[in-house]
Symmetry: C2
Subunit: 416 residues, 2 copies
């Protein structure tokens, strides 16, 4: 097993080759990776079954087991995803502006790869191929570290990716997986700033926080979503009920699902029963403030300070009646994670106020928060949803996996 | 003295106001700050003299004393700088792309402020007003922490800035200075991730490294410059000698000065004596590889591995004769800090190769590395020169102090 330092050194070398590689070559490698995944699905499934057996022995939960499972169907769908990445526009080599200075220096800002990207993730083995495809397409080398439960599957998938890279004529070290899944190796990866240009954690809030606390490598925080829907006094009640129902229940486990409903006091009496009727269909547990309880009755549990802070990722919704839009905005800017926030309103002024004052990656008027997603936004791909402000904010596509380089063309200029 | 946590809370509140403030209001505040600096120069000078007396008592060096000194002339020039920032284009509110999705959602990517910016710097008191002006112009609140030597000056300057902000009708807490200059307060600031969106250290390599190691707030590394000039076989010898002379000696203490000269073996015999003749004028100490010594004679000291790694910031230049452009590129990508790198060549192919393969913020053909600077690049301002790849790379102007927000306009869309 290679040391992380040696893996980093090799990744940097491979990144140098990748940065100068043509679009066709990278696309060819992606095609070969997709072929290898479907062509060797049996090997992947065998490794995955060994992972599942081992996971069962230590008694992990059924939902984790489901995430871990890499069926033939899922492998095929992952391979299709890799092929689709090949079809996307190359984010490299475009000029991001070019100008000439009075002294004749011609300055050209080019999009170039970030270099070496570390990705730390949890149980889902499809991430291994997804992440490799996106980093490869954008000209970056990657060092992946998946969860220990999926290690056999991940090693099998990475073996196929590396063979495909070599077959395409690219260094196998463009993509590497950390085989040591100990806590220590994760810590070491987070401090590998000599070789890593960026670290992207993908997973639950605990993982993200631990990486942010420990890393010396620059981190992009992703996927923390304490999202709100605010129903303004002038809202269309039907539209508002459909939006909170969709934002809460269409997929409660994801980061763009709503966790708290804020309702203007002037519409609460009419709106809350309508919303509850829909939410009851999915047995959503409501936790409300005193005014909410007064309207909906005692079967609504009381909400505590902790409810405003919590990303449930479940069929639970906190509900608060607010005096008006200012209280809603203050609540969101206090408790929100800066992910996705929505207002439902017929008021132009309040729509503009909400858009301008709410501090989040995506702010919606009259639409569900569930649209915050690279595919839904039309980026063609997604490596994660950034909830920090540095480098990238919101859904990150291929463009967010690049940086810039100034190419400066002179004819002997010196600085006076 | 306020706690850092309380300062952070106030900064975030002020940032909310600033983010929605108009260009005219922010420009008016900048004008008032400039007026206050010149109008109250005597107070600043008195505080500065107290700093200088205290610094003399602990016996700090003459060069540090010079950096600490805030003369009437320097105050006037700083005030002029603040006025110039007011004249720059507002980086906020521009759309960074807008499109409509098939479901009718209209997505608009807006430039918005980063939020709260922490800046840790060393002795120069002009940074206090410079940094406040740039963060204010770009709609960000700032928490500044200067060196302990300049604390009296910084408090005086900040007092004037805060009065000017209030006079303009903006919260004084848009700009704050950390009065506790202990090591502990610096550590606390670096971990204030609840309130700070980004931390920018400005200063020597030791400061930068310590911040990168300790911070949980996202950091932008700036100003680490181990820069190279590579003289290719086909270079114009006169041009190459002028470029290395300028890159090394026009201001050796800055980060875009050259530290190592790489010379193709085929031109070394002719070029090195010509370069040495110029460099001798400024008594530049040369530290060369064996081939350099063989050409220039024994008064050139031998270079060690450490010389290739060192940012001298002084009249010292490491010199290495290389077999060709590949060795030069490998040397640069191994030892360089990713700041500014130059090739001098008449070969089109080698120019393109160098531009493509060298991994740095700015890569030059036939020009001095000294041009890497916000003003020289035409950005109109500079908060620092980033040597990392995340968020910003190279000179950072006002645009680099912003991030994006997706404003999404719907009409009841839900995700299917």
């Amino acid at each position: 097993m290679l040391s992380l330092d040696e893996m980093g050194r090799r990744a940097k070398l491979a990144a140098g080759t990748l940065a100068c590689s043509g679009t066709d070559l990278r696309n060819r490698a992606l095609e070969l990776i997709a072929q290898a995944l479907t062509g060797h699905a049996d090997e992947i499934i065998a490794a995955n079954e060994a992972d599942i057996t081992a996971a069962r022995e230590v008694g992990i939960s059924e939902s984790l087991l489901d995430r871990l499972r890499f069926t033939r169907e899922r492998i095929t769908s992952t391979a299709e995803g890799v092929k689709k990445v090949a079809l996307l526009d190359d984010p490299l080599g475009r000029s991001d502006g070019a100008w000439t200075r009075p002294n004749g220096l011609r300055i050209c800002r080019m999009r170039v790869p970030l270099g070496v990207i570390g990705i730390i993730y949890e149980a889902r083995p499809n991430v291994t191929a997804d992440a490799a495809a996106l980093t490869l397409k954008s000209g970056n080398a990657c060092i992946l570290r998946g969860g220990k439960e999926a290690i056999r599957t991940n090693i099998a998938v990475m073996g196929l990716i590396r063979s495909a890279l070599q077959k395409a004529g690219l260094p196998a070290d463009c993509c590497q997986i950390v085989e040591d899944t100990s806590h220590e190796s994760a810590q070491e990866l987070m401090r590998l700033s000599r070789w890593l240009d960026v670290l992207i954690p993908r997973g639950g809030a605990g993982l993200i926080r631990s990486v942010v606390e420990s890393a010396s490598v620059p981190v992009i925080r992703t996927g923390e979503g304490n999202c709100h829907v605010y129903v303004d006094e002038s809202a269309d009640i039907d539209m508002a009920a459909q939006i909170i129902f969709n934002a809460k229940t269409s997929r409660p486990s994801v980061c763009n699902a709503a966790e708290t409903l804020l309702v203007h006091q002037g519409i609460a009496q009419a709106f809350l029963p309508a919303a509850k009727k829909l939410l009851d269909e999915k047995h959503v547990e409501l936790r409300g403030c005193a005014r909410t309880q007064a309207i909906l009755g005692p079967q609504v549990k009381p909400a505590t300070e902790q409810d405003w802070e919590t990303e449930y990722n479940d069929y639970i919704l906190a509900v608060k009646v607010v005096d008006g839009i200012d209280e809603a905005i203050t609540h969101i800017n206090t408790y929100g994670s800066g992910h996705s926030e929505a207002i439902v309103t017929e008021s132009y002024a309040n729509a503009e106020k909400f858009l301008s004052q709410v501090d989040a990656a995506a702010v919606y008027v009259n639409a569900s928060t569930r649209f915050t997603d690279g595919y839904e936004f039309g980026l063609g791909a997604e490596i994660g949803i950034s909830t920090q402000k540095l480098h990238a904010r919101g859904p990150m596509g291929l463009g967010e996996l690049t940086t810039t380089k100034y190419a400066v063309y002179g004819s002997g200029q010196i600085r006076l």
